[in-house]
């Protein structure tokens, strides 16, 4: 079966059976280090699903998001990552983005001299392979900025320069709305966001998911608070670089109530030692 997903200027042709983000037996480490951070980790995210990965500090949550995106600081030692049946493990970062992957970063990078509008228009041009009309782009951008409660003068400011933590996160979501990805990874979205900003950001993500039924989300988080706004279908607990438990929202609530030790993940490690 062939599904057609029309995304504004972009058209993805997808084989129904292979349409997913799949991480298969993935192990990875920091470049020039012997310490494996991800350890034989496997995960499948089907169209329209929302997955959350939780875990204590230092268990590899953010590393997973960066390895999937192809971050220069990590190397895959074994296993594979697939998008829609195609291995992306050896692809350049931009090629992964072109296949519909989007990483909303925990601490978005500041780039002096490159304006928001110039950056996003270049990005749209490269992903769509078409020249984006300037007038349409600016009008769409102004509307999108209003949606995420960003001042429109930020359009012409250098990328993330002088932005507050909340503004940076809103800017990430603004980019997501424009680039129309299929697979969205939210790395600690709630860090640096006040309650009101978190609500605005999550409303925009939910609206996006409603409008793009096949889009999937992987939420990396310490706390269940964000999961009250973006409801996960699955909650995974990461420990020592692999998924040790999978459940639903009840699992996240249990962790909030009783901590990570309550689900016996840590006990398992202790026994190994």
């Amino acid at each position: 079966m062939i599904d057609l997903l029309f995304v504004k200027n972009l058209i993805y042709y997808i084989d129904g059976d292979d349409y997913m983000l799949e991480v298969k037996n993935l192990s990875a480490r920091v470049v020039n280090s012997d310490i494996e951070i991800l350890n034989n980790l496997s995960l499948k995210i089907n169209p329209g699903e929302v997955h959350a990965i939780m875990g204590p500090n230092g268990t590899g949550k953010s590393t997973l998001s960066k390895v999937i995106m192809g971050h220069y600081n990590y190397e895959v030692t074994s296993g594979d990552i697939f998008i829609d049946g195609e291995s992306i493990t050896d692809l350049e970062v931009n090629e992964r983005a072109k296949r519909g992957l989007f990483l909303c970063m925990q601490d978005p990078t500041v780039i002096e001299g490159v304006s928001n509008s110039e950056f996003l228009r270049t990005s749209l041009n490269e992903i769509s392979g078409e020249h984006v009309n300037l007038y349409t782009f600016i009008k769409d951008m102004e509307q999108a900025m209003e949606d995420v409660s960003l001042d429109s003068n930020m359009l012409h400011r250098s990328l993330n320069v002088g932005f507050s933590g909340g503004e940076k996160k809103k800017n990430e979501i603004l980019q997501m709305k424009f680039l129309k990805p299929k697979y969205i990874i939210l790395d600690e979205l709630d860090s640096g966001l006040d309650v009101d900003s978190l609500k605005i950001v999550c409303e925009n993500i939910n609206k996006y998911l409603k409008e793009n039924k096949n889009a999937s989300v992987l939420i990396i988080t310490h706390y269940p608070r964000i999961l009250e706004y973006i409801k996960p279908d699955y909650v995974h607990i990461l420990s020592n670089g692999k998924i040790e438990a999978t459940g639903n929202m009840d699992l996240a609530l249990q962790i909030e109530k009783d901590g990570y030790n309550s689900i016996n993940v840590m006990n398992g490690n202790d026994q190994d030692e």
Binding site: V93, N94, F102, G113, L120, S123
Partner: protein
């Protein structure tokens, strides 16, 4: 309203001397050239904004000397260079405030991007003899940061286009430049 000057050097050794008596902005663009620049702030209260941007292919030196001859004068010097190959590029940046010049501001910001393994050097010198002066300097030599390239590429931008964006923003670092006056320099950026 400041007086604005555009200077374009092209593959030669150039010397410039300016005696500044009104607020002035100088945009100095160089393609593979060496320059010596002397600026004298000759009137009380005048300001100078000096933007030097260079693309370097061989061995070159840039030397700028800013003399705060009068009090309440203000200088901001921004030097940006891209060292394309394995050659030498040296910035020597001198700010001088004599004892008689009170309440001056004398700042400089110097950056060189090595595209390969060029031998770049920055020599920031602040010769301040008056105690009532505000003065800062900054210097950076290195490559474009990996995290910056990663961020741009994570949004679908190819490595080549990412470099083009970064080079352009680095070498044309202010919105107030009239691009029609530096079309040759812009073409040169695209060749890097």
């Amino acid at each position: 309203m400041s007086k604005i000057l555009y200077v374009i050097d092209d593959n030669e050794k150039s010397d410039y001397k300016y005696n500044i008596n009104e607020d002035t902005i100088i945009y100095h663009f160089s393609i593979n050239g060496s320059s010596h620049v002397e600026v004298n702030l000759c009137s009380e209260g005048v300001s100078l904004y000096y933007y030097y941007n260079t693309i370097n292919y061989t061995d070159n030196k840039f030397h700028i000397l800013v003399n705060h001859e009068k009090g309440n004068t203000h200088s901001e010097v921004f030097n940006h260079g891209v060292n394309v190959h394995h050659n030498y590029l040296t910035f020597t940046v001198d700010g001088v405030v004599p004892k008689e010049s009170f309440k001056c501001i004398c700042n400089q910001d110097n950056q060189i991007i090595n595209m390969k393994n060029g031998k770049s050097a920055i020599r920031p010198n602040l010769f301040i003899e008056n105690y009532d002066v505000l003065s800062n300097h900054a210097a950076y030599i290195g490559k474009f940061k990996d995290e910056v390239l990663f961020y741009l590429m994570s949004r679908g931008i190819s490595r080549k286009t990412a470099y083009e964006l970064l080079l352009r923003s680095f070498l044309i670092d202010t919105d107030s430049i009239d691009l029609s006056k530096i079309d040759k320099f812009i073409l040169e950026i695209n060749k890097i």
